[in-house]
């Protein structure tokens, strides 16, 4: 097992300056909306022409316009990672990117495939990682992006890559074990 145990600092636990204050939805609440689309996106290999406003965050287009509910909504502020998709293979929080800023093919959990994805799903199944399961598609998407970048990550690299994905059921130890298993399969 690599990596040192987590450290907790009681003396001062500081919030980054940029995050102080109320953090509401990063919804792009433009008061003068732009006329809707068409916005052309490539999602899971399929072209979609969306009659949506450019400010709409990608997560809502996926879930409520296209009905792809595998990508979950959890916080709307880029804090929980439940909405993670791939854009051009990179992990992106779809709640925090507007449709008109999406450039590149989008992959959601429904379209995640290939040998690495297969090993991740197998590892998640055999280690019985999930509890309520709601955050897990986002966890798998982040893990897949990590393994695409780093085929044999150590604990520290996994922690860093996965720190943006919250799990309220705290299945973290199994998530990490599943990533190791998928990496070395």
């Amino acid at each position: 097992m690599t990596g040192s145990p987590p450290a907790y600092d009681r003396a001062s636990d500081t919030l980054p300056l940029a995050l102080r204050g109320r953090l509401r939805e990063t919804c792009g609440h433009a008061m003068t909306p732009t006329p809707p689309g068409p916005i052309r996106l490539l999602i899971n290999g399929q072209v979609h022409d969306l009659a949506c406003e450019g400010e709409m965050p990608l997560v809502w287009a996926l879930r409520e316009v296209l009905g792809l509910t595998g990508t979950k909504f959890g916080c709307g502020a880029g804090q929980c990672g439940a909405c993670t998709v791939h854009i051009d293979g990179r992990a992106v929080r779809s709640c925090s990117i507007r449709l008109d800023d999406v450039h590149g093919p989008v992959t959601t959990i429904e379209g995640l495939e290939g040998p690495v994805a297969g090993r991740l799903f197998d590892a998640w199944d055999s280690l019985q990682v999930a509890q309520c399961g709601y955050c897990q598609p986002g966890q798998v998407m982040s893990a897949a992006a990590l393994l695409a970048d780093n085929a044999r990550p150590d604990d520290a690299a996994i922690d860093a890559a996965m720190a943006g994905n919250l799990c309220r059921c705290a299945t973290y130890l199994r998530i990490r074990a599943a990533i190791h298993r998928a990496a070395t399969a």
């Binding site: 009681r10 953090l23 979950k72 399961g133 130890l173």
Partner: protein
């Protein structure tokens, strides 16, 4: 294992293409039908001709693996294959699916397995007997020669799928008092089995409440007042309605409902609303002021209610060496990752609601009342919830009602799906109550507790109904898990002050165990130090009447190597607790300094009776430890000097992230043949106390409040 205790009522055969067993009961009066005396039937178990076995689960799966556990129980007794059993959520029908303890259809208190254990075992065994009898009749062989295993019915050289005899079995009389399987013969219960629901969840195929996308559905969000208890005076929807995609704005009792084409359109519309609020009866105090009021109430007023055993007061007043501790526990929000959500549609005098319901009959009754419909006209589709931790239980006006009010206000024009955004959730009340605890004890010359006093100020987590008279007994929403209920005290008093606070309380994982248990375990450690006795040995000496707590304490001490000295730089703390009839002990080992420490290892021992699936126990224990550490380390809901909640999202209401999760968690299950008891809540209790005990052993000043890490400002 005790013999079969058949339900007071036997099983009956209900209409089906195969064999459908249910039970029939005369209805007790219900809140929705006070004078009704009808008979209700409830489906328990169905075997279809194609061999599919369906268990009707009255409990909610919110991540604790309940549905798979219930399926295992049935498969075991029936002789089915593990993978031919499927679980569906039972429709809400009170008192059909009445929880045998709560008396309504609800899930909570880690009671699901214990509650269904007898009923489903009996249903499985009864169906097995009837299928065997049908096979015996068809094959003209003695019934005793028929066996059922792995989904196949066999007699000598003949075998067939158990579905083959389902229809024939349905025509036979239902036997009573069918013997149950000897646990020593179990091949499914007690084995690690893959949970049926997980592959779909991981692949994003499972539909949670928020995923409901019925044709024509529109999105609903609600503008709430900024302070608890404020009401709407006036509003201007013009700017909101002018925005594309905003369909309607309607006042409802809790604020303003905004309906949009998508949730994003609705949120954007909500941000454009202008509203004025009447705050004359709102809660405008800060949480600091509320806690100060708690202290004044405890010091200056007689308790609302108290219970006494012997005369502790005299000893405490007379003895000069009273050991005393005080703890402040903050409001906590549950923050399940799936936002609170419910979908509904209303047409032709019928209403369908869809969500991860946790209090089905209550939700159903409330919806019927709001809509002016008979209860039978409201249908609930229960789907898995993306976590609950107690939040989705229903105690009075809450998000479900808002959806129903919106359907009513729009005459059911559109199917609607309501979502509380993350800041709605965090600032929305329904918290684990803020609680002030004072514990006092006098020890005798042997270190035993001669007198003990526990004083608690806090709202009960089961909210009192509006206008209810002040309680005369300490509420179980405050007292479960208290000190003198578990440790031997020669004399004790439990006093409770009920505070008037305009913040809605709610059940939270482990309910009042999550402050009583922590206060108890920190205090008993200080008593051990005062008595000069090892913390494990001291607890054992006070738990003579609780052998199962002694058992897990000894097990955790053995596995943690408690009797061996620690490596230099390491310190450790222990805690033990009984919750929901399960028993959990934990040891936390830390390194570093009190101000900058690392958790090196957590060792956990759990006795939850007969284990249905050991992997569920392991995963729940790990998850509970992470959950308990999140609140111990980071979490508090605070209100500023004007009563505004200061937290709004996961940046300032924090959950443990992967880098903060202890790396080594070792879970040991006590072998037991006792009745199965829950694991979803009890392991979340001791870890905070064990950590504090380790910190205090390391030399930290006595802890008086949570969270341990307070928000700082750069």
């Amino acid at each position: 294992m005790s013999g079969l205790h058949l339900a007071r009522r036997g099983f009956l055969v209900m209409s089906s293409t195969g064999l459908l067993l249910g039970t029939r009961t005369l209805a007790a009066a219900t809140p929705a039908a006070p004078s009704r005396k009808a008979a209700f039937t409830q489906r328990f178990l169905e075997i279809a001709p194609d061999g599919t076995v369906t268990v009707f689960a009255k409990h909610l799966d919110m991540g604790q693996g309940i549905w798979s556990g219930l399926a295992a129980i049935v498969a075991e007794e029936l002789g089915a294959r593990w993978n031919q059993v499927r679980v569906v959520g039972a429709p809400a029908r009170m008192p059909d699916y009445a929880h045998t303890v709560f008396g309504s259809q609800t899930t909570g208190g880690s009671t699901s397995i214990a509650n269904s254990w007898d009923q489903l075992r009996a249903a499985g065994a009864t169906a097995r007997a009837m299928l065997a009898a049908a096979a015996a009749a068809r094959w003209q062989v003695p019934a005793a020669s028929v066996s059922i295993a792995d989904g196949m019915v066999t007699s000598g050289a003949r075998s067939a799928s158990l579905g083959r005899f389902a229809a024939a079995a349905a025509r036979l009389p239902v036997p009573g008092n069918v013997p149950l399987k000897d646990p020593a013969q179990f091949t499914i219960v007690g084995q690690r089995r893959p949970r049926l629901d997980l592959p779909d969840k991981v692949r994003g195929r499972t539909g949670y409440g928020l995923d409901t996308n019925w044709p024509g559905i529109k999105a609903l969000v609600v503008l709430h007042p900024p302070r608890f208890g404020a009401t709407l005076i006036d509003h201007d929807p013009t700017a909101a309605l002018a925005l594309p995609g905003v369909l309607a704005v309607e006042p409802i009792p809790t604020g303003l409902a905004v309906i949009g084409e998508t949730t994003w359109h609705a949120l954007r519309g909500r941000a454009a609303l202008v509203a004025t609020w009447d705050e004359t009866t709102a809660e405008t105090r800060s949480t600091a002021a509320i806690m100060a009021a708690f202290k004044a109430q405890m010091a200056g007023e007689p308790p609302t209610a108290e219970t006494r055993s012997g005369d502790a007061a005299t000893v405490l007043e007379a003895d000069g060496s009273v050991i005393e501790a005080q703890f402040e526990f903050p409001y906590l929000a549950h923050v399940p990752i799936e936002p609170l959500s419910v979908a509904g549609r209303l047409s032709g005098g019928r209403c369908v609601l869809r969500s991860g319901f946790q209090s089905q009959t209550s939700n159903q009754a409330n919806a019927a009342r709001i809509l002016g419909l008979p209860v039978e006209a409201v249908e609930l589709e229960t789907v898995p919830a993306g976590g609950s931790f107690g939040r989705r239980a229903d105690f009075g006006p809450d998000w479900f009602d808002e959806l129903v009010y919106a359907l009513k206000a729009t005459d059911g024009r559109w199917p609607l799906r309501l979502m509380w955004s993350r800041d709605d959730d965090i600032a929305g009340g329904h918290y684990r109550p803020m609680t002030l605890q004072r514990l006092r004890a006098v020890l005798d010359e042997d270190g035993a507790i001669a007198a003990f006093d526990q004083s608690i100020v806090g709202q009960p987590c089961f909210p009192l109904p509006a206008g209810a008279p002040k309680p005369k007994e300490p509420s179980i929403g405050v007292t479960i898990g208290h000190f003198a209920d578990q440790y031997a005290c020669q004399a004790s008093r439990l006093a409770w002050w009920y505070p008037e606070v305009g913040v809605a309380p709610h059940t939270y994982r482990a309910i009042s165990n999550n402050h009583n248990g922590i206060a108890k375990e920190i205090f008993v450690d200080r008593l051990a130090r005062a008595a000069g006795v090892d913390p494990v040995a001291y607890r054992l000496s006070l738990l003579g009447h609780e052998p199962r707590q002694q058992g897990v304490l000894r097990l955790v001490a053995e596995k943690a190597g408690w009797d061996r000295p620690l490596a230099p730089g390491l310190h450790r703390g222990v805690a033990v607790h009984r919750a929901d009839d399960s028993h959990v002990a934990q040891v936390v080992e830390i390194s570093g300094t009190p101000e900058h420490f690392r958790i090196e290892r957590v060792v956990c021992a759990i006795d939850c009776g007969l284990v249905i699936d050991p992997d569920t126990v392991l995963s729940q224990a790990e998850g509970c430890i992470g959950f308990g550490l999140s609140s111990a380390l980071y979490q508090e809901i605070t209100m500023d000097a004007s009563g505004l909640v200061e937290q709004s999202n996961f940046h300032d209401y924090r959950i443990l992230r992967m880098p903060q999760m202890p790396r080594r968690i070792e879970v040991h299950i006590m072998p037991s043949a006792a009745r199965p008891t829950g694991v979803g809540e009890p392991p979340s209790v001791p870890v905070a106390a064990a950590l504090v005990n380790a910190l205090e052993a390391m030399g930290a000043p006595p802890v008086t409040r949570f969270p341990l890490i307070r928000k700082g400002v750069a």
